[in-house]
């Protein structure tokens, strides 16, 4: 009996340790393949070069346009998506009539479950022509990617923010009402601030999704490897850079793509660590 208890405990421990091993393995493999070429090309050249011509002789590998594009699309998606998402979450948690809620809630779950290829199709046929008609230009643009990404992060922002809003003790809301505040004002100025750590978490997750999205962005953004001069110009994100050329790449070109993945990986890691640092500090 004792033996079985101890044995199972060991099994649980091994499983727990495995996740550490996996992250370690992924890091190891990416870094082994990506760091040497990065050093060879010069880290500074690689990160700040503006020319990406992998098949020319001699090739040039400058990642700056992709880093900037990933940054702009993610920031843009947050600017458009987060306010809508948070307001919708307030609506769901505090305003929505019950019958409507029963229809909306599954709808938002569905939005979360739609595969990104399907989003990409939709963007290609609807959003791109729409942008072309309204703003002119090619349609394949940073803006098209931003609009689609802002829709794609909505379900993440809404469900997590809504859960955070619902977790705020009812007494907060009632207290505000008792002090003479109206229903909607209590929701916005009392309940919403009280749920801020959960809402921040939803924004961070949304950011991760926008930064890491691949298949949908590659269909919409135009993919030119240059720094976009305006939101209506096309540009290439870090993820698009990998998926476009991965199938073809050999030798140094493939290593440069792995190095692209490392940059992406480090960006996401930084976001996560910063966030958990703030959460821990907020907790104290």
């Amino acid at each position: 009996m004792k033996f079985r208890e101890q044995g199972m405990k060991a099994v649980f421990l091994i499983c727990a340790a495995s996740s550490v091993v996996f992250v370690f393995l992924i890091c190891l493999f990416l870094f082994i393949n990506g760091i040497p070429p990065m050093l060879e090309l010069g880290v500074v050249n690689f990160l700040t070069g503006t020319n990406w011509r992998p098949t020319s002789t001699p090739p040039s590998f400058g990642l700056l346009p992709m880093i900037i594009t990933s940054f702009i699309t993610t920031a843009g998606a947050l600017v458009l998506g987060v306010p809508v998402g948070i307001c919708t979450a307030v609506f769901m948690a505090r305003v929505c009539p019950k019958p409507l809620y029963r229809a909306l809630k599954p709808a938002i779950d569905l939005l979360a479950g739609i595969p990104s290829v399907v989003y990409g199709f939709f963007g290609l046929v609807i959003i791109v022509p729409m942008i072309r008609d309204i703003f002119g230009g090619r349609g394949f643009s940073v803006l098209a990617a931003i609009v689609l990404l802002s829709i794609m992060i909505l379900p993440t922002v809404i469900s997590i923010s809504e859960a955070a809003l619902r977790a705020v003790p009812e007494t907060y809301y009632e207290g505000a009402l008792a002090l003479g505040s109206s229903h909607i004002r209590s929701a916005f100025f009392v309940v919403l601030p009280a749920a801020k750590s959960g809402i921040l978490a939803s924004v961070v997750l949304g950011m991760g999704r926008a930064l890491g999205e691949t298949m949908a962005v590659v269909m919409l953004a135009g993919n030119q490897p240059r720094i976009p001069g305006s939101l209506l110009e096309g540009a290439r994100s870090l993820t698009a850079n990998i998926v476009l050329e991965m199938a073809y790449a050999t030798d140094i070109h493939r290593d440069a793509l792995v190095a692209t993945a490392i940059v992406l990986f480090v960006m996401i890691l930084t976001i996560n660590l910063t966030f958990s640092f703030f959460i821990r500090r907020g907790g104290r």
Binding site: R53, P58, F140, G234, Y248
Partner: protein, 296 residues
């Protein structure tokens, strides 16, 4: 908060639009008719394939877009990673121009002739349409009997007829008939996305004759196909472009068909012919508005 962000976003795009407004003014009013040879009023929207794609490789080679080893394709050209995306784009955008494989062409887009020669199988065969490329297959070293048998089927009268039937051009019009050898096993074929639809037909016809054989087709892109053939993960690699010198050193290759590369525009675009040099200038970004074509 939301209202502010929307206004900010609109302001941003507004400024951006203003910055990009160096493009010519919109269509002339009706009482001021355009000159006889009608050109679209807008900017040319160039679309190309991604680097490494066989279609792009052949296109930049044929139109002499590679200068001193540098691919000079217009940096502002949109990049799509599939013929499907290019066709959807051209079908929806009045000002778009792109290129695809002859085998992918359908009526959602309009093919334009180059120097008054249209890209048909007939013109490719008689050599008057020069924008064509080989479909290559490549193998490495000693090839096993089954792979050899499948290749002999591809090069047989039946195999070549399938290529012709799919809109490609056969390379051998007096090929021998293929007879089933009754073999069994698996052949792994991989590479070009452009060759894959043809290879799929060939596979089906071959498997009908040899029910115990399974042909596995991996759609990966030309360069990946050659790499796979070199490192041994593929029995046969497919490429929709000529092989590079370094690939030819280690691989044996043969042409299985010819495919035209067709320059396509929107169905509403009045353009129906273009010169070889103009195509080159458009894809180098020297022609930026359609009206410039009037001076060519």
């Amino acid at each position: 908060m939301f209202a502010i962000s929307v206004i900010a976003a609109l302001a941003l795009t507004g400024c951006a639009g203003g910055g990009a407004a160096s493009a010519p003014a919109p269509a002339a009013p009706a009482d001021n008719p355009a000159p006889a040879a009608a050109y679209l009023p807008g900017a040319v929207h160039v679309i190309t394939r991604e680097e490494g794609s066989g279609t792009r490789g052949a296109f930049v080679e044929l139109f002499e877009l590679v200068v001193d080893g540098q691919d000079m394709t217009y940096i502002g050209a949109s990049i799509s990673n599939s013929a499907g995306a290019i066709m959807t784009n051209v079908a929806n955008d009045l000002n778009a121009i792109g290129y695809i494989s002859l085998g992918s062409l359908n009526d959602t887009v309009t093919p334009i002739s180059i120097g008054r020669v249209s890209g048909t199988a007939e013109n490719i065969r008689n050599g008057s349409y020069i924008v064509s490329r080989p479909f290559n297959i490549a193998t490495q070293g000693d090839v096993d009997a089954l792979t050899r048998d499948f290749i002999s089927f591809i090069m047989s009268a039946q195999g070549q007829a399938i290529a012709e039937d799919r809109g490609y051009v056969m390379v051998d019009d007096s090929a021998p008939e293929y007879e089933s050898s009754g073999m069994s096993g698996t052949v792994t074929v991989g590479g070009s996305t452009s060759v894959a639809p043809l290879m799929e037909r060939l596979k089906e016809a071959y498997e009908e004759l040899n029910p115990d054989v399974f042909i596995e087709i991996q759609i990966m892109g030309s360069t990946a196909g050659m790499t796979g053939a070199i490192d041994g993960t593929l029995d046969i690699g497919m490429a929709s472009r000529p092989l590079s010198a370094s690939e030819q050193e280690v691989l044996d290759h043969m042409e299985i068909a010819h495919d035209g590369i067709i320059v396509i525009v929107n169905n509403e675009n009045p353009l129906n012919d273009i010169s070889f040099d103009t195509v080159r200038e458009i894809f180098m970004g020297e022609v930026v508005v359609w009206a410039q074509l009037a001076n060519q």
